[in-house]
Amino acid sequence: VTTIEDVALTHPDVSQAREFRLGAETAVAVVPAVFSSAVEIRNHVWEQLGDGDPVLVALVDEIPGDPAALASIVAGLDGTQVSRYTEPDGGLEVALRDIMAETVPASRIGVLDDFIDLGGDSLSAVQLSTLIQERLGVSLRLETVFEASTVRGLATAVRTEAEVAGVVLPGAVPSGTARAGRR
């Protein structure tokens, strides 16, 4: 039987892994060799295990023996040290998720995944800004795109800018049927 821990350890960045429960969620805590992206490891585990619920991934400095202590450490971590897959909510988030998928190497994108953890860099930020202009008719500064940093953040920035500029967002924004965010 292949465990989540075994699968996590096949990622080149990972030096230790431990499966645990965080409330109702299945989670894996990972100690990177130096540093890594929780989103990338989440997608790696998800792909290797085949279909099933995504696993929450937490990047930690060390793994204590006591599972309760581990859960308490993870509960106090900063945003990008924990990755939890979140589905898009509404057509705009779906559209932005699909645009994001064209600009970063990540295979699956949750709406709370950080742009840098998805593998984005300065050039992908430029591309993202261009595609949002082309597809949605909303012009966002490069800095705004970068600061928004997630699909959900971008949706808020797009709505705000559309309102200020008097742009009507495309009503027929494709819903989940278009692509599943996979490339």
């Binding site: 130096v34 540093f35 900063d78 040290q81 840098i116 593998g119």
Partner: protein, 483 residues
Amino acid sequence: VQGVEAALAAAAERNPDGPAVIEARANHSVRITWRDLAERTAVLAAATRDAVPPGAVVLIDVANTADAVVRLVGALRSGRTVLPLPAHAPAGEIDRLADLAGRRYGAVYRSSGDLLEKLRSGPGRCTADHLLTGGGTTGRPKLSEGTVGDGLAGGMLMLLGRSGWDTGIRQLIVGPLYHAAPFTILVAGLLDRHTLVVQGAFSAAKTARTVERHAVQWMQLTPSHMRRMLTEPEVTAGRLASLRGVLHTAAPCDRLTKQGFNDLLGPERVFEMYGATERIGMTLASGAEWAARPGTVGKGFLTQIRILGEDGRSLPVGAEGRVFMRHGAGHRGHARTTASVEHTPDGFRSVGDHGRLDADGYLYLADRRTDMMTVGGSNVYPAEIERVILDLPGVQDVAVAGRSDHTLGAVPIAFVVPVTGSTLSAADVTRHCRTALAVPKRPREVRIVAGLPRTEAGKLHRGRLIDLIDPTRPTTTTEVAQP
């Protein structure tokens, strides 16, 4: 070097007779057209390739002259690794650099004027485009590897574009070409078809006259250049009218100087960048942003910033702690497996600076002046004390930091790493300092230690040094780079 080849070929075809390099002198100026630059550097590159094996390091003397720009570009085009150093560098220093480069990379050559000589033989094994010397102000020199593309990655060219920089403008290179920032900016300018103006050694009056005479549109300065320009009567707003932007970097700028430059040029033409040679991220502040938030070095530019406490947890807005940054370009590949600076598990990295963020995400640095302490009213610079101690035989490395003192405010403490096998004692160091330093500069305590907390690039973790002085402050760091 791919980018340079393409940029030169394109510029030479597009505008063969336009000026590529201008050397501004008091009574004359030297102009080199794009066609000339392309042809002369092609000849130099071929000659260098003939004489120097692949993978070898070429030390190249550069003054800020048109000739030096040609030799530098020619050396870059040769595909050999370029290490720029000051013209008239003392022989001892060249020898030390040749030793350092030779130990790591094998063959070392030196290009000086028309001469090309071999300094160290052996097979060359350096793959970087260029090497820059770091750690020059503290301790022994260190070499940091660079490639032209990497230096401009992480949005560097985009940041420059926010500071009045544009394609094809006239740029004055003010700082010495062997320093990291002027070198990087020169290469960026070349790639962006700038007319590169050089003017020899810096003087404030000369800079103002060069800007006026050659209608310079952009330049990079350090706060020390700015201070000298503000006290020079020849520097007037009228002479600087052609400038679209000035970007200052390299050191913290005091408020009077910053305000002075905002007044001189107008805040819309003054920009500040904060970054580190380790390229962990960068911030940009326009003069207007600084005027609205005095003291800020700006918001992260394509960079996320996190302020962490000594326990490694994020601190709330307004709280001062250690500055950690990350940007996309450094977040993959070998960066994830090479621990050269402190980092979090999700890739925020720190070079040891302290600071805070305001509610809008503007960064304010604190403690950057750990480089200067006030001892009984005298300004004392650790770097000066460090240089003196380095002169003492048997010293491998040294760092000086201030310890707070009830009566004097602060006193200098020296941490000295002896050369292996040396019998150097703290008393030897104290005796040596007594003969070479004024009273406030003499270390109040000398500690002999096995190693100093330095990054691979040779930069000292000042924060960790402070932890060493005050053992009641917890040390949270894991790796200490042994020199």
